[in-house]
């Protein structure tokens, strides 16, 4: 989705109009509703959104980790040009580990508590790469060293509960890297960790990605986590991508009111104490009955009648590679006019504080 991407022959992974619906007693939950992106090797895509925006369901859809029952899937997911969106369990298992791997939010639940750390790493090596046990042991040791675990040979014999949260996440990363994946998914990899450890883990992921020339998808709720690390950012809201751009472009010319609101609502270190925060009023919509028009419209300070009736498409406008779905974008004359109109009409300017 950037110029460089266009230059490369073929993206590693390309999604087109991916949908994932869940059948529930309440009706069809449109958890992911038409998401497209592509990513090439060596690049990092940050997917940002709040809980319930569909970012985790999206990564599970790509990884084929969703249950079969009560799930309706659509669209196309191409991995190295090969369609995997509707692939069966066997086909996916082949991709797993070798081609793509995942780092989860909570390393404690993702690791098997009654299995030694070493075995958990060698298991996937032996299974996926069909190597000898000795070779797998040797590789595991190297992996632990490369993810920055002190005394790796001792750690190999330990159980997950004997490790700290940061160490466990390092082990998870080692397991994910074991078979040399081309694509690494990191789903909120540092949310459960302390800030100082978070920085270490993010640095580690960065370094490993560069070293192994992997593509990485970093899923997070924190714009700060992706700001310095992702090449491109996709902001999701209520199951859809609302804005997608190279990182610098996104921060320099934020166009979607939700992206702006998300950034504005975070307290910042350089703000004076007791600065009133620009909270987004209300809550994300119910995904069984999403709003007809733009899904953010009910909470949007820029919203006009058109937004409530007609869903804006995700298209690029002035800057190539910068796509957003909005009729009255931030930083454009139309947007300014819409905002002024709403403020004049006294419509609850939800973004500006709420009261």
């Amino acid at each position: 989705m950037t110029d460089t991407m266009a230059a490369s022959s073929e993206p590693l992974i390309a999604l087109r109009d991916v949908t994932t619906y869940f059948k529930t007693p309440r009706g069809l939950v449109r958890a992911v509703d038409g998401v497209s992106f592509s990513l090439e090797r060596g690049k990092t895509l940050g997917i940002v959104g709040e809980s319930g925006c569909g970012k985790s369901v999206l990564s599970k859809s790509i990884m084929g980790l969703l249950p079969k029952r009560n799930v309706v899937r659509g669209g196309s997911i191409k991995f190295e040009g090969r369609e995997v969106g509707q692939a069966g369990a066997n086909e996916l298992r082949e991709l797993w580990g070798n081609q793509m791997a995942m780092v989860f939010q909570d390393p404690m639940t993702a690791l098997n508590p009654v299995m030694r750390v070493g075995n958990q790493i060698t298991e996937s090596l032996i299974h996926n790469l069909d190597v000898s046990k000795d070779f797998a042991q040797e590789t595991a040791l190297q992996l632990l060293t490369s993810v920055g675990i002190p005394e790796p040979s001792r750690r190999l014999r330990q159980y997950p509960f004997e490790l700290s949260g940061g160490m466990r996440q390092r082990v998870m990363i080692a397991i994910a890297l074991a078979c040399g994946p081309k694509l690494l998914f990191a789903d909120e990899p540092t949310t459960a960790l302390d800030v100082t450890v978070q920085a270490q883990i993010l640095d580690l992921l960065d370094a490993q990605q560069a070293e192994r020339f992997m593509a990485m998808i970093l899923v997070t709720h924190d714009l700060g986590v992706v700001a310095g690390r992702a090449d491109d950012i996709m902001v999701m809201y209520a199951g859809q991508a609302v804005e997608k751009a190279p990182t610098r472009t996104l921060f320099a010319q934020m166009r979607h009111p939700y992206t702006e609101a998300l950034l504005k609502s975070i307290p910042k270190l350089d703000q004076a104490s007791h600065t009133r925060l620009d909270a987004i009023g209300g809550r994300p919509p119910d995904l069984v009955h999403p709003p007809t028009g733009c899904r953010f419209a009910p909470r949007c300070p820029y919203a006009q009648d058109r937004c409530l009736q007609e869903a804006p498409p995700l298209v690029s406008h002035d800057t190539p590679g910068h796509e957003f779905a909005c009729w009255y974008p931030v930083g454009t004359p139309e947007g300014a006019e819409a905002l002024a109109k709403n403020q004049a009409a006294g419509i609850a300017a939800t973004v500006s504080g709420g009261n």
């Binding site: 309440r26 009023g281 209300g282 119910d286 009955h289 709420g354 009261n355």
Partner: protein
Amino acid sequence: MSVSGAIAPNIQLGAKIKVEKEKRKRLGITGTISAVWLALIGLSALLAPWLPIPSPKQAYIDLVQPDGNAPFSTSGHVLGLDGGGHDMLAQTIHGARVSLQIAFGAVMFGMVVGGFLGLSAGFFKGKVDRFISTLFDIFLAVPALILAMSLVAFLSGSSAQSGFLSIERIMMLALGIVATPPLGRIARASTLTWSEREFVMAARAQGAKNFKIMFIEILPNVLPAMMSIALLSVGVVVVAEGGLSLLGVGVNFTDKPSWGNMIALYAQTDLQLHPWLVFTPIIAVFLTVLSLNNLGDIIRARFDAKETTL
């Protein structure tokens, strides 16, 4: 934080709750059948003396053939007669009276005593917990049937002179004591998890006393877990009561038929010749236990604490 912002989404929430409620109101086919069966068996047990059925002690000896073969169905005896010429329908209904009384009585006893002990153990922890848990362990270490037998023997021995306890009460008490440790342990385990919750700390911070925290805050959350075990226990107690009768310490069949002693007696004497005699009380127990569990599930689903995820 605008109030308008907070209210708007609630319209959707309201719709969602309505759907849930409608769904939960329905009992479903199995639920309805269970409810009907339980109402039927409960009412007929309650009203047995006034129902147009013969006394269970009435023997229609003339209808029994010399070889002890009784006709399965005779006019006026829908479920037939047993070898002694007793009307099976009357036996089953009067049996329900005894069995259900003992089963519910025993389980209630177990719920109250076990619930109280388990709640105390889980709430106060430390020494109280160690004492109560040890008590439970001691009782659980003895095989249930042997424990029940000795309790019945002990209780009937001590009440023989005074006549204070009828055999049903003795059975109720003995089986109730046997049912106490498992129910108590469930209560304890559940209390341990619930008392870790922050709302317990919040109640304490408000100045709530232990008694209030235990019974107002924790108990309602612990009850569902206990209920599911209690409903299962009803079936177990009915069968145990029969087992005790068979060993000669329970309710005597000739005094009062119960489902338990009917199963025990007929299984011994008539299983090959007249299997339906055994099957009648067995089916009654089976349907009752099934219905209780079924309704229990439905009730639990309705009252289960639902919690939002963030």
